[in-house]
């Protein structure tokens, strides 16, 4: 280990920890626990989704038919790629490859921004088609399919709430990655002190994972299956 690395490590040891190992384990444990609270946070919405999907299955099928599967699938691929670059960035932080780490973090941000861009296109489509819940909600073809447009509105309520909350997490994630990219470029991290990179990475993977569930649940509801 280079002398400067030891300095980085000592500089970052907070007064109430005995050593860097205790500090790292503590912060990672805290992050995992925070992700548990996030699971419970999204869990309430997933629970509502399950209840209404079971109750109004046909309406959910109709709502799901309006989704652009190709945009959704592209976004899924984009996020999986961003997770890969994030994982590689964490590895680079652990092995002291600072330049590579910064490049990979920027790549991650670009993927994240691409996701939000594609999502914005989709939101715009829904908005112009009055597929936003509220007094102006319209859904043509509901009668032909024999479902109540109001029940389709519940599908869209959950769609907007779930993907909106996910998008908000993406925005926060990009903010966090920006922060560690700047700190990383300034040489704040080393093989001895990379907890912030690792923890932001955990958060990023979690947000990706939420999308991995959202995509099939919202876009790929089968027409054939009865419930």
């Amino acid at each position: 280990m280079a002398a400067s690395d030891i300095e980085i490590a000592e500089h970052n040891l907070q007064h109430h920890f005995a050593d860097m190992d205790q500090q790292r384990e503590t912060s990672t444990f805290g992050m995992w626990l925070f992700l548990v609270t996030e699971i419970m946070f999204f869990g309430g919405l997933f629970c509502a989704y399950l209840v209404y999907r079971a109750t109004y299955y046909q309406a959910f099928v109709e709502g799901s038919q309006t989704m652009n599967i190709w945009l959704g699938a592209t976004n899924t691929a984009v996020l999986i790629c961003s997770s890969l670059s994030m994982a590689m960035a964490v590895r680079c932080a652990q092995t002291d490859q600072r330049k590579m780490m910064v490049i990979l973090l920027i790549v991650t941000m670009v993927f994240g921004a691409a996701f939000l861009g594609i999502k914005a296109v989709e939101y715009h489509e829904h908005w112009t088609h009055h597929q936003f819940p509220g007094p102006n909600f319209q859904f043509e073809g509901a009668d032909a399919a024999g479902v109540s447009p109001q029940n389709v509105q519940i599908y869209f309520s959950l769609y907007w709430a779930m993907t909106g909350l996910h998008a908000l997490h993406m925005v926060i994630g990009i903010g966090l990655v920006t922060w560690i990219t700047i700190a990383g470029a300034r040489g704040h991290y080393s093989a001895d002190y990379y907890s912030p990179v690792e923890n932001v990475g955990l958060y990023w993977h979690f947000v990706d994972l939420v999308w991995i569930y959202l995509f099939p649940l919202l876009y790929l509801i089968s027409k054939k299956h009865g419930g």
């Binding site: 907070q14 007064h15 109430h16 005995a18 205790q22 384990e25 503590t26 912060s27 444990f29 805290g30 626990l33 925070f34 548990v36 609270t37 996030e38 419970m40 946070f41 999204f42 869990g43 309430g44 919405l45 629970c47 509502a48 209840v51 209404y52 109750t55 109004y56 936003f132 819940p133 509220g134 007094p135 109540s148 109001q150 029940n151 509105q153 519940i154 309520s157 959950l158 907007w160 709430a161």
Partner: protein, 544 residues
Amino acid sequence: MATAVQATVERENYLNHDYTLKSWLLTKDHKRIAILYLISITAMFFVGGFFAMLIRLELLTPAGDLVSSDTYNKLFTMHGISMIFFFLIPSVPAVLGNFLIPLMIGAKDLAFPKLNLASWYIFMIGATFALTSMLLGGVDTGWTFYTPFSTTYSNTHVIGTALGVFISGFASIFTGLNFIVTIHRMRAPGLTWNRLPLFCWSNYAASVIMVLGTPVVAITILLVALERLFHIGVFNPALGGDPLLFQHLFWFYSHPAVYIMILPGMGVISEVVACFSRKRVFGYEFVALASIAIAVLGFLVWAHHMYVAGISVYAALVFSLLSYLVAIPSAVKVFNWTATLYKGSIRYDTPMLYAFSFIGLFTIGGLTGVFLASLGIDVHVTDTYFVVAHFHFVMVGGMVVAYLAGLHFWWPKMTGKMYPEGWAKLSALLVFVGFNLTFLPQFVLGYMGMPRRYHAYPPEFQVLNVLSTAGASILAVGYVLPMIYFVWSLRYGKDAGPNPWNAVGLEWMTESPPPTHNFDETPVVTWEAYDYEHQPDEEVTVGR
């Protein structure tokens, strides 16, 4: 000469090392953050108490003459919201837990000091939202925000209040997360889980609920706000939304939240009973695990709030059975405290008087909870004063009394000063008498059929209501007194010394008030918790 100088120079501690306002508002010291919380929640307690006072005044006479029915709806709503979300939930954890957990486990601070400070700021932002909504005209949905009334029909400041509750929830999540990580990772060498003070165990159990439950109520309240703002209709029956789903999601947190409000109080009682009986807590392991059992079972009983809301009979049966099960670990605790008293050298200092109150009142509150868990009785007394009396026995007779016990017990540690014992005993007595006079009549009222949440009632209920209001006024004196003499003691109280109760526990092995870093050297623990058998039983003179 040199010794004289030394005697006048006070040792540096967490209170006197810096006096600036900035040093308080930007502190990362868990002890100072505890004091910040203490001041904030005391203010909220008196806000909630003010609403309670108006409620009791209105109910002095059968006619609805003091306030209109709409105002009355707002009064009980704002009483509930201030007391539950801004006083009871943070009370013991954020004040005493924040102050004591690092001291009890021999750590220099909580694991995440900045997060701890952030939690106080978040709490204050939430409280500001709630208080502003109250000042602008209040909210009338009941503290439960039941839909579709809260989403569609109420014309009051639902969004502002809901956001206040939503935001303060994150303060609770951060406190719980901090406690769990701290207790796992920051214990002093030798302090195994089996040597951990029961106060830490019970706060750990409460933290598990905070971390797992609070996010669910957060998303639920967010959906209520979205429904009001954008009419998304997830809970709106007009669109096919299900109001029962709201109740399920709400009580999934709000029933376990009852255990956030009582478990830390139980931890206080374990400490106090052991100290003033000078014995190890009987069945330590069982009391410790009972906390965990209550936390786990607490997540499986939420629908007992919904027996008459239209859930299936079979679901109600299962929830009834599970609700009975919670009585087991609760009873384990009560029996073990009683067994601890047996053949103990009991001293009747103020914290112990509060602990006795707690054991009696919590037992009544808990047993009436078993009544309510049974389907037949619950249908009869749903939404009556029986329910009001039951949860006030647990929340006020339990948690507020435990909080006062803890405040008196650790006040010498927090401030270095003793409070006046005579006045404190008087206030403990007033709280006990006033509380029983307030809420025992309400059991009778409820059983006779007086519904809750109405500002007028039939004349035959008046005698019991007058008794209840009279009790509330005694209770008010019992609560104001400690506030006066605690503040008085800061200036005029006798010096407490490091260990005025001759208690065991790491927090008593450092100065009062503790230095900023808590311990000069990290302690090494080689003894069991509550090792009173090996504690020299010297006559305690300091501060008495």
